[in-house]
């Protein structure tokens, strides 16, 4: 491969080829990021649906409690939440590794944002559809699982995608609790090579491309879930 180097005057060099030997290491970090985000996505959706169900429930106590959770975790910086868990959990005798702590913290924060999105998806469901389900004798859990969840999911897939993209960007903060995910690995490479500008510039573009790919995937998923509303091909 021809070295791609850009000479900016005599002293300024920008040469990304110096990163080549570190690509496998960075890929390992990227894999960790993917794992953490994948798990946190599942966690966020689970919490999101649960909390959205509580917030739309008829019990004022439950819906109030759910609101307080969402309000708190949306208005406190993620890094503060992360430190709360990372330094706090061992204090009460819970010893888990940085990865698990990170996934839990991401899930809880992501859950707060997802639940808001899912809640508006639930509130947008035509009440007549729920009445039809109710009079046909379906139990409340079945109605929630078979009717409410899928309809809310498909109407809110785009905003949920934005939440997920934010989750990916936020996962970089896990590097502050000793986790060598993508950003954490890049930090190590930056200090090993003494070429922080190249490392972080590439990292920035990598994240932006990653989130762009995710947004493409979300659009495809949105089209797939709402395929019945597209004109039929005869």
């Amino acid at each position: 491969m021809k070295p791609v180097s850009l000479l900016l005057g005599s002293r300024l060099t920008f040469d990304v080829t110096i990163l080549a030997p570190h690509v496998p290491f960075l890929l390992k970090g990227a894999l960790l990021t993917a794992e953490a985000c994948g798990l946190a996505l599942v966690g966020s959706l689970a919490i999101g649906f649960l909390v959205a169900a509580l917030r739309t429930s008829s019990s004022p106590l439950l819906s109030r409690a759910a609101f307080v959770y969402v309000d708190l975790f949306r208005n406190i910086p993620f890094i503060v939440q992360l430190f709360f868990f990372f330094y706090g959990l061992p204090e009460i005798g819970i010893y888990i590794d940085a990865f698990s702590t990170g996934v839990i913290a991401l899930s809880i924060a992501g859950g707060a944002f997802s639940s808001d999105v899912i809640r508006s998806g639930i509130l947008a469901i035509d009440p007549g559809i729920l009445e039809a389900a109710e009079v046909s004798g379906l139990s409340k859990p079945v109605i929630f699982r078979k009717i409410v969840m899928p309809i809310a999911l498909r109407t809110s897939i785009r905003p949920l995608g934005s939440v997920f993209i934010n989750l990916i960007l936020t996962s970089s903060i896990l590097s502050t609790i000793t986790l060598n995910e993508l950003t954490g690995s890049a930090k190590i490479v930056a200090s090993d090579t003494f070429r922080p500008f190249e490392v972080y510039a590439v990292l920035l573009v990598v994240y932006a491309s990653l989130t762009y790919l995710v947004s493409l995937a979300i659009s495809a998923l949105h089209r797939h879930l709402n395929r019945d509303r597209m004109p039929e091909v005869a």
Partner: protein, 223 residues
């Protein structure tokens, strides 16, 4: 450091940290507002070269972690340009740029919400482009943007916490210091969290009040 329990001086520390966070938040908000609006105006005038360049820059800033942007400015820029960048300078540059990218998006959609036809009809009446911008677009765009703007600022306030990672002694950094010294993470991070929460609520309240006032103003003008 030997661990010691809380002292009354810690209140002063927390207040100082909060002050640093707020000062950086306010400064970068003002710079971000100016910069983002200028970018949007450049787009409105469809300035060649600059306009697409800004679009790409805004996409990059919106879709990459602020932490990486901070590292790029704080560690990367000095290495590339052989200059000295202090943590506070890096924080100012990064947060302003990041805020500007989001302001740009809000401003562009606010301008688009007004519609080209309205703008063109104003031009027909002989108003200059600047007059159209100043008297037709700006007031309407402002009313449209205030809601999303409030949401953005609540978010950007939280983003400021990341500057603690490059050593700015903001509220989160004070939290780190107290956490190490007292070894009482739950208390420390709960207090720090509560301070951020209260500030976020204040920003949201301010935004809502301003929105109400702007709405009332435009309703009155409509008569």
């Amino acid at each position: 450091m030997r661990y010691t329990s809380f002292t009354s001086y810690d209140v002063v520390l927390l207040a100082q940290g909060l002050g640093v966070s707020l000062a950086l938040f306010l400064t970068t908000t003002v710079i971000g507002l100016l910069l983002g609006t200028i970018w949007a105006v450049i787009r409105f005038y469809r300035v060649p070269v600059l306009s697409p360049l800004i679009a790409v820059l805004a996409e990059l800033l919106k879709n990459s972690p602020v932490l990486v942007q901070l590292f790029l400015v704080f560690f990367g820029l000095p290495a590339l340009l052989k200059i000295n960048v202090t943590p506070v300078e890096a924080a100012l540059i990064t947060l302003s740029g990041n805020t500007a990218a989001f302001i740009y998006v809000i401003a562009v959609s606010a301008i688009e919400s007004i519609g080209r036809d309205q703008i063109e009809s104003a031009r027909v009446f002989g108003l200059s482009r600047w007059q159209v911008l100043r008297h037709i677009i700006a007031p309407q765009a402002m009313a449209f943007a205030i809601g999303p703007l409030t949401g953005l600022l609540v978010n950007q306030l939280q983003v400021t916490s990341l500057i603690s990672v490059i050593g700015v002694v903001d509220l989160t950094k004070i939290g780190n210091i107290l956490n190490l010294r007292t070894l009482k993470p739950f208390i420390v991070w709960t207090i720090v969290g509560a301070l951020y929460y209260a500030t976020a609520k204040l920003v949201a309240f301010g935004g809502a009040t301003l929105e109400k006032r702007l709405r009332a103003h435009s309703a009155w003008k409509g008569l």
